[in-house]
């Protein structure tokens, strides 16, 4: 299963999704334009074992089943924003959210 992490307001991510769909490959989109809303991400390191999943209302993806990942982080223009936060906190919050995704992906990359 291919995992795409990006925002559909971003042309490159949109093209990649369209192309993968056109080729008929299975993929899941973690829409960073919306994230963390609608998505539940969990990744655990437990006595040497690494496991995790990404889920939304329509699907759940075990990270062990991911065969390839395309990531293109979004800027504020491509994100819906955080309704609970003041303007000054929007950018740091987006940074925290994407750092979380980065950390999860990095861990899978460096793990044996």
């Amino acid at each position: 299963m291919i995992l795409i992490c990006g925002g559909l307001a971003d042309l490159v991510t949109e093209f990649v999704c369209a192309r993968i769909e056109n080729l008929g490959y299975e993929y899941r989109l973690l829409n960073l334009g919306l994230y963390p809303a609608r998505y539940r991400v969990s990744c655990t390191w437990d006595e040497g074992e690494l496991y995790g999943s990404i889920a939304c209302d329509d699907w759940e993806l075990d990270l062990a089943d991911v065969s390839g990942i395309f990531v293109r982080y979004v800027d504020q223009k491509c994100h819906v924003g955080f309704p609970l936060l003041p303007t000054a906190m929007q950018l740091p919050a987006l940074g925290e959210c994407q750092a979380g995704i980065m950390a999860v992906l990095e861990c899978f990359l460096v793990s044996p």
Binding site: T44, W45, G52, C97, G100, I101, C107, V110
Partner: protein, 292 residues
């Protein structure tokens, strides 16, 4: 004979390292940012050659890179006066300056202590989870941890692990989750961004600072020799994996016994006792080639 120390004002480690070459009448330049706006920085490079010169704000003369005998890096530069910039401009200027600085540091012909790889340079503070795989590869015992943005997931983790703490993903600040108020706070945070949850450690705690090949402990917690060797070997292995010469690990008692509780690429000398401070400073002075 000139040495360069890149450090913020008030950095005890930098100050103590500065004193050694000064006492032998060597010139020591100290700056928090060699590429700051009030100085002059010039660097010319092609595929084979690199030549650069530096004039710090309070210096009259220019120093070329070849004249530097050693460099010790304790800070990353970037504009200090944040209030003069909009947040967007500040981040841009900081990124540009840091990129120039790390590139330059990697082209210096002299010993550079604490020259981080670009990857570590731009993200020195990482969640424990990101260090986990490297810690284990190095042979260091680790704590269980989880990254999540889901409250139920956090509760399940705590149920399994016992007391936990959480850290934001872009800083080292740690928040214990013990009381109902703590859990309510965590629930609010998770509605906005994910965090890294981790088992907690208890006393006795210690820190071990690697400089070159030497490991210096901040305090004696009565570690049996065999444990001490495991940690010291692990720290050296980790240095090799990270391709760095100095950093610190924290050690504490987790649910499964002694384990590594974190990594700090910019340790604080204040956390070490007098003998430990002298050892750390002596080793750094030796590494930059300024030992007597």
């Amino acid at each position: 004979m000139t040495y360069l120390i890149i450090a913020n004002v008030g950095d005890l480690c930098a100050e103590r390292v500065r004193m050694a070459p000064c006492q032998r009448s060597a010139e020591v330049l100290v700056t928090c940012d060699p590429v700051a706006e009030r100085g002059v920085f010039s660097w010319e490079l092609d595929t084979e050659h690199s030549s650069s010169s530096l004039t710090l704000p309070d210096q009259q003369r220019s120093i070329c890179a070849e004249a530097l005998r050693g460099v010790f890096v304790r800070s990353q530069g970037g504009p200090e006066a944040t209030q003069e910039w909009t947040s967007e401009d500040y981040m841009y200027v900081q990124a540009e300056r840091r990129a120039a600085l790390v590139g330059w540091l990697h082209n210096l012909p002299c010993p550079v202590v604490n020259r981080l790889t670009a990857d570590l340079w731009f993200r020195p503070y990482r969640p424990y989870a990101e260090w986990q795989s490297l810690l284990r590869k190095s042979g260091l015992p680790t704590l269980r941890c989880r990254i999540t943005n889901d409250f139920e997931n956090a509760v399940e983790f705590a149920r399994r692990c016992g007391p936990i703490a959480y850290t934001p993903l872009t800083s080292n600040t740690r928040y214990l989750v013990q009381t109902d108020d703590d859990w309510r706070e965590l629930e609010k945070v998770l509605k906005i961004f994910p965090v890294c949850l981790k088992e907690t450690v208890s006393d006795p705690r210690a820190s071990a600072w690697l400089v070159g090949d030497t490991v210096i402990w901040n305090t004696d917690i009565g570690l049996p020799c065999s444990y001490r060797l495991v940690f010291e070997r692990g720290v050296r292995n980790l240095a090799s994996l990270l391709n760095i010469s100095t950093f610190e690990i924290a050690v504490g008692i987790g649910p499964a016994g002694l384990c590594c509780d974190g990594i700090d690429l910019y340790p604080r000398l204040e956390n070490y006792e007098r003998d430990g401070q002298s050892s750390v400073v002596g080793e750094i002075v030796s590494l930059i080639g300024a030992a007597a």
